[in-house]
């Protein structure tokens, strides 16, 4: 099966890699939803479609059958009625001789009996082979009338009998004419003609028991009403719709009538006379059951669709969230590995560089030292103070290089961790002593809020001193003279103790915060190496702990160190 272009464009199964992270999950979610909706709703739609049509045809048959039966039954009643009248006329024309019938007294007698026994006869007349009315009993004066030119007379002569279409006759009632030709053994022919009113037609139609919305009527083959219709016209008017195709068995058509209603027309053609019986029923009426069922089907379908879509949306959201979470976890782990890798390769590089620089630096140091020695040891060196100052400047620079290379090497070294049971408060107190002088000199408010009940932990004293020295150095660098630095310790939970160093210094921007643990990132300009916090971070991680930074520009920074009470298994490798 060829995949349509629009589906290719959607590319539902493709996980987009480019674009923003947000976009990527949005597109994935969209694709998932579309795909799931397609695979659930298409079968549902198909089922609903098939069911709908199955039900409809089954129900239609069931509902329309009674209509057919009714038409057939009524048609038979009509045929029976007409056949009866035809038989009567036929019987009379056979039972009596031409002469008897030509006698108006006899004919009158016969007519009275006919009227008594059979309803609907209006008049009767005898017409000879030439088409002249010989005798007549009825309300008109038709004796002697010449019918030879009339078509019904010819038809009766050719076919032996004739039943006319309805016409308006005596007392403005619709009538039909029944004519029967009789031929004696001697070859003499005559036609007996009777008029019948069609009141009985109305009775037959009324007996169908139709409701007010339905209609039944008789048409001739030219579409002229033989009985009045409720909706489409009176007797002898033209039926406004096309005639249905010929069918002598009851048949049902769906059509739209002159009032714009959807209707069923059940009909049957008569063989003789050429009438059509039709029953018209509005579809809404006939199919009321079907409409109820249909709306129930539609409601069930709609509810299913809504439920499916809701479930799909919920499910997709859940799935996408799970995927996103696991992606993020993976990315975080990946970043961690990358970070560690970066640190270790930078460490190796730093060690190499430091070593290479240390040797020439040692030579510079000794040469300058010797120069100083020579200047100092010679009593009468010209410009002694100036040279001494110059050499001191060189030595100081060497000293600076030395401290940088040593820190670089310190960053790179993989010292064995020496675990001992220690009191974190003691470590902090010891570390603070290194800085007390500076605090005093700069009039800093150095607060120690140490938890006296802090449990002892197993960790590395030297490394922890390095950690706190680094963090405190940063805090001291961040505050103005007279600023505040507070060190707090507490027991965080059963397995962890925590120490925070808070200052009310300059704080850091979001951007700076992102980079503080990266090697060589510094805000101290030429003064910093950019290694203090990466070393700190490395040590804390090695000790199985964690570090957290909160900072607001202009407000200050709080660094919190979490340390396990017992080092993890991996520590010390």
């Amino acid at each position: 099966m060829a995949i349509p272009d629009w589906l290719k464009k959607l590319n539902l199964l493709h996980m987009p890699e480019e674009g923003g992270v947000h976009d990527r999950y949005r597109i994935l979610r969209r694709n998932m939803i579309i795909l799931m909706i397609l695979i659930t709703l298409i079968p549902l739609l198909l089922m609903a479609f098939v069911n709908y049509h199955e039900y409809r045809s089954a129900l239609k048959d069931e509902i329309l059958n009674p209509l057919r039966v009714l038409v057939n039954k009524t048609k038979h009643s009509f045929e029976l009625f007409l056949a009866e009248r035809l038989s009567t006329v036929s019987f009379i024309s056979s039972a009596y001789t031409f002469e008897e019938l030509a006698n108006e007294n006899t004919l009158n007698h016969i007519f009275r009996v006919m009227k008594r026994e059979f309803r609907g006869f209006v008049d009767i007349g005898l017409i000879d082979a030439k088409g002249i009315q010989i005798s007549y009993v009825g309300p008109y004066d038709l004796k002697g009338k010449d019918y030879s030119e009339q078509s019904w007379f010819h038809e009766a002569q050719v076919r032996g009998s004739y039943i006319s279409d309805v016409f308006m006759g005596y007392r403005k009632f619709p009538h039909i004419v029944i004519a029967v030709q009789h031929r004696t053994t001697t070859g003499q022919t005559w036609v007996l003609r009777a008029t019948v009113d069609t009141e009985k037609f109305d009775d037959l139609i009324a007996s169908m028991g139709l409701d007010t919305e339905s209609d039944a009527f008789l048409l001739n083959r030219s579409g002229v009403f033989q009985t009045p219709s409720k909706f489409y016209g009176d007797v002898l008017e033209q039926f406004p719709l096309n005639l249905p195709p010929v069918s002598y068995e009851a048949n049902v058509l769906e059509l739209i009538d002159t009032k714009g209603r959807d209707v069923f027309m059940a009909y049957a053609y008569f063989i003789h006379p050429a009438y059509i019986l039709a029953v018209v029923k509005p579809r809404t009426d006939v199919l009321r059951t079907w409409y109820t069922l249909k709306s129930e089907l539609a409601i069930v379908f709609l509810i299913s669709v809504v439920v499916i879509i809701l479930v799909i949306f919920k499910l997709s959201d859940l799935l996408i969230r799970r995927i996103r979470e696991s992606d993020e976890k993976r990315e975080a782990a990946f970043r961690e590995i990358q970070h560690t890798h970066k640190l270790s390769s930078i460490g190796r590089l730093a060690a190499g560089v430091a070593h290479e620089i240390n040797n020439p630096m040692a030579i510079v140091n000794e040469k300058a030292g010797l120069m100083k020695d020579l200047i100092e040891y010679s009593a009468d060196f010209p410009d002694k103070p100036k040279f001494t100052a110059l050499v001191d400047a060189i030595l100081q620079s060497v000293q600076r290089c030395r401290s940088i290379t040593h820190r670089l090497l310190g960053f790179a070294r993989r010292m064995e961790i020496q675990i001992e049971v220690l009191d974190l408060n003691d470590v902090i107190k010891e570390t603070v002593t290194f800085l007390e002088k500076e605090a005093l000199y700069r009039n800093l408010d150095l607060r120690l809020e140490l938890d006296d009940d802090l449990p002892r932990i197993a960790s590395d004293r030297g490394q922890l001193q390095q950690v706190f020295l680094n963090i405190l150095n940063n805090a001291f660098a961040a505050v103005e003279d007279g600023g505040m630095v507070a060190v707090t310790t507490w027991e965080k939970d059963l397995d962890t103790v925590a120490a925070s160093i808070a200052d009310n210094g300059t704080g850091m921007s979001e951007e700076t915060l992102k980079h503080i643990f990266e090697p060589f990132f510094t805000t101290k300009g030429g003064k910093g190496t950019g290694l203090g916090l990466p070393i700190t971070y490395g040590i804390i991680k090695k000790l199985g702990g964690d570090i957290e930074v909160q900072s607001k520009e202009g407000k200050g920074t709080t660094m919190t160190v979490y340390l396990p009470k017992k080092p993890k298994e991996t520590v010390g490798g």
Partner: protein, 125 residues
């Protein structure tokens, strides 16, 4: 007080000669070598009390020289110089019986102090 007998071993000639001159200026007689093999021969012919030894040297490395000294001349005190600055070298050296270690670039006074301590330790043995 014993007579000062110090041997300075480092592959950087400029470094050893200059440092030796500075020590001599301060009244400490020093011999120098820029090569591990040569240093060992010098120790053999006239054992010093203190050897100041660079760890990282081409050919026979500092730790190797240290091992030989400790094997053949137990009394000789060794001060290790590490350019690497790595405490690992220090720890390794300590395990191998080094007297102490210093990191380059040196502080001359610190070195003299260490040498003095080593001399005293040598005397006490």
């Amino acid at each position: 007080m014993h007579e000062w007998k110090v041997l300075l071993v480092d592959d950087e000639e400029e470094f050893v000669t200059t440092l030796a001159e500075r020590l001599r200026l301060r009244g400490i007689p020093v011999r120098t070598s820029t090569d591990g093999e040569e240093a060992l021969r010098m120790i053999e012919t006239d054992p010093p009390q203190v050897v100041v030894l660079d760890v990282l040297m081409p050919g026979l490395g500092g730790l190797e020289v240290l091992k030989r000294i400790k094997a053949d001349f137990r009394k000789v005190k060794v001060i290790l110089l590490t350019g690497q600055g790595s405490t690992w070298d220090g720890i390794q050296g300590m395990r191998m019986g080094v007297f102490d270690y210093l990191m380059k670039p040196l502080n001359i006074n610190e070195l003299i102090e260490k040498i003095r301590e080593a001399m005293n330790a040598y005397g006490e043995d």
